[in-house]
Amino acid sequence: MGTEDNSTPIEVKHLSKSFGTQKVLNGIDLSVARGETLAVLGRSGTGKSVLLKLLIGLQKPDAGSIRINGKEIADLDRKQLNEVRKTVGFLFQQAALYDSMTVEQNVEFPLSRHTEMSAEDLKKRARELLASVGMEKDLEKMPSEISGGMQKRVGLARAIALEPGIVLFDEPTAGLDPITGAEIGQLISQLKEKHQMASIVVTHDIHGAKQFSDRVVMLNEGNILVEGTFADLEKSKDKFVVQFLSNAA
């Protein structure tokens, strides 16, 4: 399922989105190259999660262009959009596991719908994926029976089930203790090394962002304040950035 063309996996130009009178994204530009992880930082309610939902077509932008693997999202019909979605994995903030299915069935779900695998191969692949995130012992458990950190691991296994070329992470370490948060961060780094995925990680976790990102952008009031490496962010004299980093330290 990985991308085979040479186009930039994620390319956003002049993207704007408002809810009523509240402008959450104000003409932002960003791009992510293959094998690169971009961390998006910013205060709550600054449109970070909205950005991810716009990228995958769950919400419609007011203006601007979103190109995923060279395809303009706004021009696609539902069928074409679904083809693009198969190349993008999405880890939701609360994992969003299907609560009527077991852990194993959650991971099998996208595979059973988009591959021609036999039932036996589906199980084998789901178990491999769950083993890669350390969840091979809880196959038969329901999502309500496992902890928040474990749910995120299962969500991660489900997000990469179709071997996407792009993975979007919405607050992957939010609500987790520091040790579990660091483990999830390590998993993201390992997956990037292994699959050379382009990733966007929306997070408040400065330490995590430093650990797993190649580049960071800082969003505030719908605009990008800083874009560059983590070192560039630390060097910034912008009042908001300085305050954000000092409060997070």
Binding site: R85, F90, Y98, D99
Partner: protein, 286 residues
């Protein structure tokens, strides 16, 4: 009839707008607030119509979700069986108890089996089944899909390139359509059986004689159209409940509102549809 329809529209408007705050103070006058209510009322119908069209389209487009359909038929059909049977049985007993006195007064006691059977198969059985199933299944679907919406499970499904209208809505709607006529048959049978028991306790009569007297003159036109009209009730329950569940906003409060509105609206639409369907049955199956 006019009064009935007028009242229904008022109740419908109240149900759609219940729990939604209208910034009447900001808008300045109550007329504008009323206009907003009316606009929301028609907006609901527009969105509901578009949703029905989407579900109808994806329901008959391969690949089909047979496994999920079977699961829903079990959840909606077999798990509603005791409820439908009990509701039918209670209706049979009540019909027997209530009509015995009236018929005795007019010297038509021998018509009691016929009254029970006709009443059950033509109207009471289908409507009672529709209403009790709309309570159980409508609440279940509204709450389940509402919870899935607020916990982003529906977004996750869409992000996995799976159409929630197909996987979640179409399967539930088809299961409701298939199961309602079967549940109605069960309710009819239980009602007739319990009607006989109540009747025979008051004045002994054999089951065979009761059935012979009750079904004397009953044709397929008396039995099949009322039974199959419940497929329309099934469509109403499935479509309204899925629609209300999938448009849930907010947290647990939103789920509560969706659940309530799913039950209220589907019950109300069943009663309204019944008026229309009875008229159509009289015209086409005289």
């Amino acid at each position: 009839m006019r009064l009935y329809c007028g009242l229904s529209i008022v109740i419908l408007a109240a149900a759609f707008t219940a729990g939604r705050s209208v910034p009447a103070g900001q808008m300045g006058d109550s007329l504008r607030a009323a206009a907003a209510y009316i606009a929301r009322f028609f907006e609901w119908f527009g969105e509901f119509g578009a949703f029905c069209a989407r579900v109808a389209r994806v329901a008959f487009t391969p690949p089909f979700e047979f496994r999920e359909l079977i699961r829903q038929m079990d959840a909606i059909g077999s798990k509603s069986l005791p409820l439908a049977a009990l509701a039918g049985a209670a209706t049979g007993v009540v019909l027997s108890l209530q009509t015995r006195d009236s018929l005795t007064r007019f010297g038509a006691k021998s018509m009691l089996p016929g009254v029970i059977v006709y009443s059950l198969i033509k109207e009471s059985g289908p409507v009672i089944t529709g209403l009790v199933v709309s309570g159980r299944v409508g609440a279940g679907i509204g709450a389940e899909l509402g919870s899935m919406k607020v916990t982003e499970q529906i977004d996750a499904m869409e992000a996995s390139a799976v159409d929630p209208n197909k996987y979640l809505a179409a399967t539930r709607v088809l299961a409701c359509i298939a199961m309602l006529p079967l549940l109605t048959l069960v309710a009819d049978c239980c009602g007739i059986l319990m009607g006989w028991i109540a009747d025979t306790l008051a004045e002994p009569i054999s089951l065979r004689l009761f059935l012979n007297m009750g079904t004397n003159g009953v044709t397929f036109n008396d039995f099949l159209p009322p039974t199959f009209k419940t497929a329309v009730y099934g469509a109403i329950i499935g479509l309204v409940s899925c629609f209300q569940g999938m448009r849930t906003q907010g947290g647990t409060e939103g789920v509560g509102k969706s659940t309530t509105s799913a039950v209220v609206l589907s019950s109300l639409f069943i009663i309204l549809a019944d008026v229309l369907l009875v008229r159509l049955i009289i015209v086409f199956f005289p």
